[in-house]
Each structure stands twice: as C-alpha cells, then as structure tokens.
Symmetry: D2
Amino acid sequence: MPDPGGLFGGVFGRGGADVSDTAWLQAMLDTEAALARALERAGLAAPGVGAAVTAAARADHFDLDDLGRQAALTGNPVPALVRALHALLPPEASAAVHRGATSQDIIDTAMMLLARAATRTTLTSLRRGADTAAGLAERHQDTIMIGRTLLQQAVPVTFGLVAAGWLTSLDEAWAALAMTRRDRLTVQFGGAAGTLASLGAAGPRVATLLAAELDLPGSELPWHTSRLRLIYLAGALAGASAATGKIARDVTLLAQSEIGEVREGAAPSAAAAGAAAAGAAAAGGGTRRGGSSAMPHKHNPVASIAILGCTKQVPGLVATMIAAAEQEHQRAAGAWHAEWQPLSALLQLTASAASWCEDLLAGLDVDPAAMRANLDAAGGLPMSEHVTALLAAKLGGPAAHDLVADAAASGQPFRDALAQATGALTAEEIDAALDPAGYLGAAGEFTRRALAAHRRAHPG
Amino acid sequence: MPDPGGLFGGVFGRGGADVSDTAWLQAMLDTEAALARALERAGLAAPGVGAAVTAAARADHFDLDDLGRQAALTGNPVPALVRALHALLPPEASAAVHRGATSQDIIDTAMMLLARAATRTTLTSLRRGADTAAGLAERHQDTIMIGRTLLQQAVPVTFGLVAAGWLTSLDEAWAALAMTRRDRLTVQFGGAAGTLASLGAAGPRVATLLAAELDLPGSELPWHTSRLRLIYLAGALAGASAATGKIARDVTLLAQSEIGEVREGAAPSAAAAGAAAAGAAAAGGGTRRGGSSAMPHKHNPVASIAILGCTKQVPGLVATMIAAAEQEHQRAAGAWHAEWQPLSALLQLTASAASWCEDLLAGLDVDPAAMRANLDAAGGLPMSEHVTALLAAKLGGPAAHDLVADAAASGQPFRDALAQATGALTAEEIDAALDPAGYLGAAGEFTRRALAAHRRAHPG
Amino acid sequence: MPDPGGLFGGVFGRGGADVSDTAWLQAMLDTEAALARALERAGLAAPGVGAAVTAAARADHFDLDDLGRQAALTGNPVPALVRALHALLPPEASAAVHRGATSQDIIDTAMMLLARAATRTTLTSLRRGADTAAGLAERHQDTIMIGRTLLQQAVPVTFGLVAAGWLTSLDEAWAALAMTRRDRLTVQFGGAAGTLASLGAAGPRVATLLAAELDLPGSELPWHTSRLRLIYLAGALAGASAATGKIARDVTLLAQSEIGEVREGAAPSAAAAGAAAAGAAAAGGGTRRGGSSAMPHKHNPVASIAILGCTKQVPGLVATMIAAAEQEHQRAAGAWHAEWQPLSALLQLTASAASWCEDLLAGLDVDPAAMRANLDAAGGLPMSEHVTALLAAKLGGPAAHDLVADAAASGQPFRDALAQATGALTAEEIDAALDPAGYLGAAGEFTRRALAAHRRAHPG
Amino acid sequence: MPDPGGLFGGVFGRGGADVSDTAWLQAMLDTEAALARALERAGLAAPGVGAAVTAAARADHFDLDDLGRQAALTGNPVPALVRALHALLPPEASAAVHRGATSQDIIDTAMMLLARAATRTTLTSLRRGADTAAGLAERHQDTIMIGRTLLQQAVPVTFGLVAAGWLTSLDEAWAALAMTRRDRLTVQFGGAAGTLASLGAAGPRVATLLAAELDLPGSELPWHTSRLRLIYLAGALAGASAATGKIARDVTLLAQSEIGEVREGAAPSAAAAGAAAAGAAAAGGGTRRGGSSAMPHKHNPVASIAILGCTKQVPGLVATMIAAAEQEHQRAAGAWHAEWQPLSALLQLTASAASWCEDLLAGLDVDPAAMRANLDAAGGLPMSEHVTALLAAKLGGPAAHDLVADAAASGQPFRDALAQATGALTAEEIDAALDPAGYLGAAGEFTRRALAAHRRAHPG
C-alpha cells in the first residue's frame, strides 16, 4: 500500500488509491504506450515502435510541473505530453505516438485506469470489512442491546442484528462497485470528433487492440460526450461511501461516553501500525490513536471520525459529476474538464473510508455488559410495545396505547405502574412481557440471512 | 397520462409520474391494505379483514390536509393516518390495521410503490425516445455535418453518428433504470426497530406475504437504515436525466439562429396536443409552441429548454439523497425525513425530462442542407487534420502541423494557401483531402453498432 | 399564518412561507398590475388603466391548471397568463398589460416578491428563537454540564454557554438574511433582451416607477442573466438553516434516553396547538407531540427531527441555484427555469426550520440535575486537562500528559489513581483541581458577550 | 505569483491562491507562533518565548509527510505538529507552545489565514477584470449586435451593454467577497470546549492578543461549532465564481466558429507568458494558446474553458460546506474534518477562475463587423418586436402579434412580407422600424450606469 503522503493523507488518503498527479501522468503514458503497441499490432506502426514508446512512457522521464504549466495553453496537459514524448523518441516511433487520438481519448482512458486501480483497493477493504462484520454478527447473535429510533430508546435488538445490517450494506456496496468496475470502465478512443477518421478504415480495429492492450473492455461507440458510465461509477462509489458512513455514525453514537457499548480499538491495524510507529518514534513516542492533544483521558473514535470526514465530502462531488454530464457536441467546453478533480477525490475518499472501515471493524471492542446495563437502566420501558400488544388483545389498541403511555409517564417504576393500572395482566405476565430476550422477533433469523447471503457472495 | 396540474406542471410535471400528496397517501394506504391482507393470509387477522381494510383504504376517504397538520405531532403522517383508518373500520378489522408495522415501514414501502409507478412512465419515454433516435441514426447515416469540439468546428461527422450517440445513452439509461427498478424497489417491513418483534415468530412470513401482495421483491433484511438502494435509484435516475440533458444541450446549440441545423417541431406530440388545444381554445387561440410573448418571429426550442430546466435540478437532489444515507441506529432523526421530497422531485423531474425528450425527438426537424452549408462555409478548414496527416507522412508530424496551422491562419482560402505553402501534395490530392465525405472514418460503423445494440436490447 | 396544507405541510411547510402555485400566480399578477400602474404614472397608459388591471389581477380569476398546461407551449406560464389577463380587460387596459416586459421580468420579479414575504416570517422566527435562546443563556449561566467533543466527554461548560452559541448563530443568521432581504431583492425589468427598447426612452423611468409600486429596490441594470443576488439569497437562507440545524442536532443528542439533559416540550406552541387540537379532535383525541405509533413510552424530539428534515435538503438546493447561474447571453435556455422550484423549496424549508426552532426553544425543558449527574458520573475525568495543566507546571508537559493519561486509563477512580501516581499535588489540590465549577474559564464572559450583542442587535 | 505546480495546476491552480499542504502547514505554524507571542504579551510566557517559537515555526523545519502519517492517530495533524515543535525548542519555550489551544483552534485559524491570502489574489483579479470590462463597455457603447434569448436571436443590444452586465457582476462579486473577507475571517480560539479554561481568567485577553498578532478580527465567542462564517465565505466565493462563469459561457458561445463575434487572444497575458515561454522552449517551441493537438486550424477558447472547468466544480463544494455546518456539541465528529479539502478547493478554483477571467478579458478580440454581419443576416427579423409594437398601436396587440409572426414565417424577406401583409405602415415606416440602431432602448443608459457604479466602487 503506497504511502499517500501529504499533511492530510493519513486521514483522507488512506487505502492506497493513488490519484496523485504522478499516477495521472503514468496512466496517460500507459494509454499512449498501449496505443503505440496497438498501432504496431494493426500494422500501422513499424515493428518495435510499441516497445520503444512503452520504454519511454515512464512518468519519471517527464517534468510534471512543466507539463502542468503548458497545459495552460491548451486546457489540458496532453499536447505538451505528446510533444515531450516525441522528443524522447526516434522519428519512426515518434510518428506513431498519439496517432489517431485526441487529448480526450488519453485523459478519459487514463481516468478509467485510475478508477480500475483505485476501486481494486476499495473492493478489498469492503470485503475484508464485510468478513469482519460477519464475524461480529455471528458472535453477537445473542447479545441483546436496546434499539434506538430517532435517538430514543425503542425496543430490544441484538448487536448481531446491528452488525448484520452493516454487513448487508457492505456486501451490497461491494457487489454494485464490482459490477460497475467490470462493466463500465471502458476504453475511450474516438479521435478528434469520435469518428477515428485519421485512422481511415482501421479505427475500430485499433480501438479493439487498444482495449486489449489495456485489458479494459471496449465500448460500442466512443463515449466522449456520453458520460453515463461516470455517473454510474460515482453512484457506486457513493454506495460504498454510504455503507461505511452508516457504520461510522453508529459507532460514534454507541461509543459516546455515556453509552459506551462499543469502543474503537486503541491499537491500529497492522497496516496502520507501521506508519504510526515510524511517526511515533520520530516524535519521541507516546502517541496513541484516539488520544487528544488537550485531554489525556479521551479516547476519540478516530476511525469513525475519519470515515465521516471522507464520506461527508462525497455527495457534493457526485453532484458535480452528474452536472458535468451535460456536454456539448463532440467535446465539452469545461464540463469535461470539471470531472477530473472530483472523480479523483471520489476515488480517493471512498478508498480511504473503506480502508478506515476495515480497520474500525477489525479493532472494534464490543461491551455486552454495557449493552445490558443500558437496557436494564430503562426499567422495562423498551418493552412497552410488547405490553401494549398484549393489552391490546384484551382492551383494544387505542386504550392499550394510552394506558401504557400513562404508565410510562407516571414517574413510578414501569412494572409497578402497569400492575396498578390494569388487572388485565398478571404479575407473571407483566414480568414475562418485560423480558427483552422474549421480544427479539426475527433478529436471529435476519442475522442468519445476512450471514448466508455473505457466504454466497464470498464463498472463499 | 394524468394531468400533472399546477402552474409549472406543464414544464416540470410532464410524463405522468404522479408524486402528488394524493399519490403518496394512496401508496401508504395501499401498503396498509396489503399488510392487512398479508396478516389475514398468515392467520393473524380474521377472514375478511384484508378486504375490509382494502375497501376503506382509498385516499378520498381521508382529509389530506388534516393528516398533514397532525403530522406535526409525530414528524410524519402515518400515526394520524392509522387512527383515521381505525375510525373507518369495525373493531376486528381495526385491530389488524398497521399490526407489526412502524411508520417508516409504511412510508418507505409507499416510496417504493411511487418509484415503481413513476419509473414505468420514464422507461416508456426513454424507450420511445430511443426508437426515434434509432430512426434518425438510420436515416442520417450519410448526412454529413461538421463535428464541433469545445464549441469550435473540428472535423466532419454525420448526423447519424450524433443520433447514434444519443441512442446509445438512452439505451444505457433505460437498461440501468430497468435493472434498478426490478432489483432495488423492495418492501421495507421491520417494525419498531427492525426485528418485527410484535409479530413474534410470524414476522418474516408476514413480510414475505406483504411483498407478494404488493408484487414487490422482498429483501433479506429490513433496510430502514441501510439506504443504498435509494442511492442506486437516484443514480439510475441521474443517468436517465443525463441522457436527455445531453440531447437537449445539443439541440439548443444546433438550433441556434446562426446554425439552424435542427429545429424543434412546432406541432406538439399527440399527447401534448390535447392539453394545448384545450388551453389555446380557452385563451382565444393563436398560441404555438416555441412562440415568444414579445418576439413573434422567434421559434424557441421549448422541449430542450424544459428538459434542461428539469435536468439541472437533478444533481443537487441526488446529493441530498446520498447525504441522507448517514442514518443513526434503527431510525434516523431527520435524515430519513429529508429523503421524501427530493426523491419525489427526482422521480417527477426525470419522468418529465424523458417525456419531453420523447416528444423532442419525435418532432425534430433535421436540415441536411444547412448542415452542408455550414460545413462548406468553413472552406475546408475542418479537413486540416486530414491534410496534416497526409503531409505528416511526407514532412513529419510537427512540420506538417505547423504548415497547416499557418495556412489556416493565413486569411487566404485554405485550399489556395495549402497549394502555395507546399508542393508535397498535388492540387488533386488537396481536393481529395478536403472532401469531407472522404474523412468520416468509422462514423458509419459506429452508427451501425448503435443500431444493432438497440435492436438487441429492444427486439420488439 | 396560513395553513401550509398538504400531507407533509405540517413538517416541511410550517412557518407561513407561502410558495404555493397560487402564491406564485398572485405574485406574477401583482407584478403585472404594478407595471400597469407604473405605465399609467409614466403617461404610457390612460388614467384608470392601473386600477383596472389591478382589479383584474387576482389569482382567483384564473385557472391555474390551465395556465400550467399552456406553459408547455412556451416553457413558462406568463404568455398564457397575459392572454388570460387581456381577456378580462377592456381594450384600453388590455393594451397596457405586460407592455415593455418579457416573461422573465414577470417571473423574476414575482420571485423577489415571494422571497420578500417568505423571509419576513423566517426573520421573525429567527428573532423570536434568539430571544428565547437569550433567556436560556441568561438563566443557565451557572448551570454546569459536561462539554463534549467528537461525541466524547471533554471538559465542563455551562448550558448558558451552549445557549449563547445558539444565540450568536441565530443573531448572525438574522443579520445576514435581513441585509440580503433589504439589498438584494430588486425588481427585474429589462424587456426582451435587457434594453427595454419597446418603451423607447421611457424604459428606465418605468422601471423606477415599477420598483416604487412594488416597494422593492430598483437595480442599476436588469439582472436577467446576472444571478448573483440569487446566490447570495441562497447563501443567507443556508446560514439560517445551518443555525437551526446545529441547535436541532444538539437537542437530539442531549435528549438521548441515556443522556436526558434536555427534552422537547410535549405541549406544542400556541401556534401549533390550534392545528393540533383540530386534528386531535377529528382523530378522536389522545395524540401528543413526540408520541410514537408503536412505542407509547417514547418521547421523540419531533421539532428537532423536523428541523433536520428541512435543513438536510438545503445544501443540494443551494448547489442547484449556484450551478444555474451560468446563464447564456440575454436569457438562459433551462438554467433560468431550473431556479424556480429550488428557490421555492429553499424559502419554504428555511421558514419551516426557523419556525420549528422558535417552537423548540420556547418549549425546551432543561434538566440541570441530569447535567450534574452526567458530569459526576465521569468521576473527575473531564478535569484531566485541568490536572494536566497543574502538573505540567511542575513536571513538564509531556510527562504530565502521560501521567494523567495513565491515571485515566488505570481502571481505578481517577482521584485515587492521581493521588497514587504522583506526590506533586496534595489531596486538597487534587480535589480543587477536580471541581468543575473551578474550571469554567471564560464561559461566563462569553455568555455575557453574546447577550450584550443580542441586545445591541435587537434593542426592543 | 507562485507557480501552482502539478499536472493540472496550469488550469485549476492559476492565480496564486496557495492552499498546498505546505501553505496549510505554515498557516498552522503561524497560528502557533502568534499564540506564543500573545501568551508572552499577556505575561503567560517568559520574554523571548514568542520570538523563539516564531523562529522555529517554519514549514521547512518539519516533515510534512510524517505529520500526515501521524494525523491518522488523532484525526488531524496538529498533535504531531505540536510535539515536533516541542522538540525544536528549549523547555521554557516548549512549555508555552499550544498553551490554551486545542487542535481545532489551530486548524480553524489557519483556514482563515489561508482564506485571507487566497481571497486577496481573487479580489485583485476580479478588480482588474472589472476594469477591463469597463473599458470594453465604454469602447463598445455603440457596437450593435444581436441579443439572444434561449439561444435564439431576439432583439438588438450593444456589446457595450453585454460588457456592462459582466462588469456589474464582477463589481458585485468583488464587493461581496471583500466584505466577507473583512468581516468573517476571524480568529478561532476556545480551547478544549470553548471556555479557554486552561488559561483561567486570561483566556479572553489572550484571544484578543492572538487576533492582534495575526491581524485578524476577533470574534465575540469561539465559533468552533458555529460555522456560519464558512457558509457566507463559500457563498461569496460562489458569487465570484458565477460572475466569471457567466462571462466564460458567453465567450464560448460568441466565439463559436459560426458566430465569431469575439475571439480569445492567442497571446497569453504577461503573467502567463513567462510560464508558457519556459514550457514552449523546453518542448521545442510552436505551442500557441488555444491550439489543438489534432486540428491545427482550431482556435479554442482556452481561458473560457478553464474558467468553466473551475466554476462547474463550485456548486458541489459549497453544498459540502453547508452540509458540514451541522456540527455536534463542542466539536464535530467528521463534519469539521470534511470542511478542510472543500474549502481549499473553493479558494483555489475561485482564484483560478478569476485569474483566467482577468486574462480572458484583457485579451478579448471583439469583432464589430461580425456582429453587424450576423445582425444583417437576420433580415430584419430581430426588429419584429419593434414592428409589432408599432402595428399594435394601430391593430391591437393580438392581431399585430399574429400578423408579424406570419410574415416572419412566410419564407419571403421579412421587409417584403410585412409590406404585403399590411398597409398600416408605409415603406419608410417599415424601413425605420427595421433599423436596429433605432431600437436600442436604454442600452446606453444602462451601460453608463454600470460604468458610473464601477467608478464609485473603484475610484482609483
């Protein structure tokens, strides 16, 4: 996993999705090199040209900042890159460079290559996170806790069911992203206006060979101004982001000082530990994850915070990608350019959130005793739905609802208030009604379903 | 197709997607009625209860504004609706109403029913639009026009290829939305906190029967706080919106007074004609589509404008849906509520854009002569890539590029400037190089591929 | 305060901001009527024409749905409206209707009128909310509670300071919205392309009179394609939304079952009570705000939830308004149309959030005992910063930080662990260091500043 | 103007707004240094401590990537930065570092410093752009061109009026951003939870001194979870972005090959020329701005494209900033972190768009002859409103409208068709009615107003 680098890389750049300028440059060069090889295979470039261009097409042969400056002359860095590539090559190879292509072909295809690489790491994190969530769901099938709706205690659930919900979302996100990655990341190759005219009759064949060289699917037509695949990619990334954001939100809430039902592990995962150890050593030691600069007793849920710091940036970026799909004629004046940075950010933030989520789940401390204590402290009130249902069978729904609501609001212990308010239930019936273990409904069944679906999706 | 009604309904509410308050209310009632029938089938309600609730569950039995007022007491209209439904029923049926359910079950499932109905009309419009685009692509395979990149004339294309690009996007949008509609619109039924505890062991069976009654797929688990399916739905709607927005953007540009290559039909489609005729008659006649209140000579591309008026609202709404997916515990405090209006708007705007697009394509006047005239007026400059390529074979790429650029900038007719600048090409070779029909590359092949793919997708 | 109506009006339409179709229609008619009066004052229409048009220009004279249908012919409802208005008037008055104007003049100016009315109610709610927050800040200057950062207990604050923070935001939001309302809601009047050519030399004078008739500021130039004022309006609304959203988020968290430091009042405000009583009576009684359909013991923070349900829709809508500002030439093809619905929604949601917030603050139950209990339950840990500072003066910062962190993590009572770990502080010094009342810093000063600023802003 | 660097810096990073990681780091260090000086001035640190910390607080003393790695332990880079700063200082100075502060104080204040610096360059560009637009407006007061609504020719305007509209927006954007910069960029200093408790009674005085040291305004209260100022800043940046985006959109349209009324200057501005020359020299020369890699005749409107590439990213980023304002308690878990990257991007993109716009306007070639030719080619149709008005006085409005519409649609020259259709106007009257110079209304007056307002705002 490459080190993301940068002042905020540890937070937003985790997970190894490389969308740095160097990665962009290399992806463009990979596209140019693959095109040269495709031209050679199509008989449109001399033997050896493909290899020569491929050898030259290494990012470290180029001055990235200089290409960026020259991009100001054309609106994108490809023309300068092509000139620089020419300068590195003998005439015969130079003549084949970029043949048939337009700048957009190179940038769009490079974008697909970046997306393919970045989503690989995201998928791995999602799957590992799902595996861990499955373990939590399995282990905690009988761990009873209070369910909370609208941030109020509601009725009992199990932590296994909570983890099963996380698991299902991670699996759904994985599946949608994997399908999108497989089907939507196609080569763009259309030349100046989508006809590949400068290649004469050979255009489609070169396009096919280019796709083969890059191991990307081809597309029926060039998609230079048909940006739906980018919208679907953004949507799949948003799904992955949402799956992790939900988990992080739950963990921040369950880890509140007053609730304490879960706690993020203080020890970072193996992957993070290396970087952390290096850093801590350099700093003189003593830094623990989740520590606070000002309050040494604090144990902040850093992974969850980092996830939310990533995921909250996603909706706006997706909106930009969708708005940018309104592209004029055969190449858009601005809308195309507006995609590069948001898509990079989406790839990186989603990978980072997924990586943090994998780590979060792997280190999560679950405290069944705290769950039980919070439930018991509610004095039976979370069973009020159960009691209401039992009473409704005898008194009718509205009367039962009001009776239970009055008992809940009486200020007395709920059990006693119920006993006083009605003779419709015996003390034993009230006690049974107030036992949370007897009011879990399909929690177990739903948990088992989630586990089974996970095993079907990932039989490994 | 229901009349959307309202002051802006003709623009934003076209296409028959009904997300009105009445439609919402009826969808909630349909869910309650289906639940009663499911309970009866599961043996949890007496025979006849399902029919009784179903008979009562008609929107016109309820005072919608009053339910809305009472929604202020609970944050959603379901509790008041349930009480009102109770009041319409005999005790036995009343007791079964809403049994096992929580407000979110009713609203989420109603949202799925609305989405199913709204996307039906959108899919129909997309498909009809695609059929028409296919006809345009086929008819105009040999209609040469100038391709434009960055709003500048570039190289020749055919209008057939342009239409093929529209077609491919419409087909992709159709397929993605159809798949989403089939797979993602599932029943939500989980009770107070997702365990269905109030139904005891019968919960999962009632959930299955409820899905069957509504003819919706079930889901493995309740998805009350796992909102990925809404993100994917929003993404599929955004794809449909983008496909139509691209077409509308192209039409507004091609229909500019100075370009005039296409023109929206003045006669609205049959569907629109009814409404228009009624309106025009009432107003004293004379109103034509595209007319201006102040400038009688104008012919505004109203359909395209209406499409863009719809599609430009989509990115922000999708962002809201994605952001809302961060939902707390077993029911979100606000994020859930924030979904209802944006999803309604997305469904309606996408349906309206698709319906306008169907109409736009059906009435589109294409003017091949204008296309040819604009191309000829460019005096061969759009062939400069072609000339450059021919010269490059003789002079090398950079020299050829510069020579052609100088000729293009000379102020002289391009043909003459080329002839003067170089002896590398004969006059005949220059003439051949400047013939756009000889520089269409794979335009025909790509158009045929788009048509073949369309026929595979919609063999009808 | 008009009843918003509709199934979701009680949640999203509270506060009296009327952006209904009828309100839109009336605002357009008010603009047409004011224009007729302005023309009469400018000598361009006969005496009496202004009054005649004004008398005719009542929304109930028009068939709103029919206008909407005809809007499909032109992309907006104004041309049909003008024809319908003509039909109601004698020829002399008819001739003056809409003179000099284009559709956009009418719609843009109507939008300003709607914004002026809607922001009036929002400002009133914000100010009343601020007044109530000021009362809370004043009353609770000495109410100690635990401050929470990253959802973990941190150091003590006062509830007065929390309320002062709410107050300051409400006051800032009020001031920004009031300034925007005063300065940015200007008449749009430019005719077909912004020159008012059809009025000859009289254009600017009619524009000035029109502004006077509507009591709106004029603008130096027509702003038909300069949409900055709408962006600033959207920004000011977003500020108001954010001020209320922060309060609502805090209340949902402080009202959690396990924390219980505040609680929304069960009794709705007077304004809401009327609607609720009517509804409750119709429904057979018994409905209380915050009750749950399934769990009678619950007391949901409905006002906070409704606020968040509104405010979470705001960012996407603002994004749409900003994106729509890219408008072509002298009238945009779609971007202009895309503003109408999002601005309506922004006005309504912000008014609703502000109204809910006013109500929330007025009914908020604050529980100082619960605050104290939660603080005490932390066993002195929130004082660790204080202890660290005292120790740092003797041991140096890093050593003090680590010592306190170890004591906090020891599992022992913090006081005892500290005493054992170091002799640098006496038992008395430790006790003093652990008293939260001694560690409130500038909480009082900041609270007094907020109150003073509020009194300066609203001396009433 | 610093070189933005990076592969896309020439497009998106122009204008000198530095939001690089190094700039962030230096801004944090500047805040820490100012705090040390403030503490010294308050008597809370020994003489010389301020100077010592200031000397140490240089970004090049720190390993930025290492700080970023350690940020993964705490969720932000400040704790590691503070430790690293400690390590560079003697004990006495070390003890004062970060005293009273929390990480958020440092990051939020650093963000204000970055915003102050970035908006300085943006304001300069906006003002220079406005000056140039004023020159265009003045020079072209009598340059007649066709106005276009809904992308159709409408009625005549002047290019002076078009430029005046651009000018007014630039001036409005300047004023709003300048006011926001002056009033909203305030120090954040509140300590662990906003009470500054660790500074005892000295907190408010240190806060005041810190503001003085940084030459930033103070704020009444810490604003750690009151983010309205960031929303207003984002809104002001969005206004600046919108002003430039409108201009760029107009230029791309006016510069279309078929319209050719304006053209971006081929010669980049002096500022850009340096970078370009360096780049072109390195590449072997020959690169001109606006050239195409594949089509040497093209002259792409690169500045406009770059502007739109920037501005189209803005709406989504603003949405993120607004959504992030919902912050919990005394420090948000994620929402705060989600602000850093979007605000950086907003600052940079807005500065880049403004710089490009300054350059675009300075080099804009305006072609009055092309404007006249396009107008003449319309054969008088754009005067139809004028003719209609003259006829309406004789025939009544609807009859006049229909007569002119029929003449416009007749296929005959408009002048002849009008003469045939009616005797209500003489040939001379028709000729006069069709002269665009006679139908410019208040174009001149509005242009003069815009110029006068500009001189009032910028009397320099």
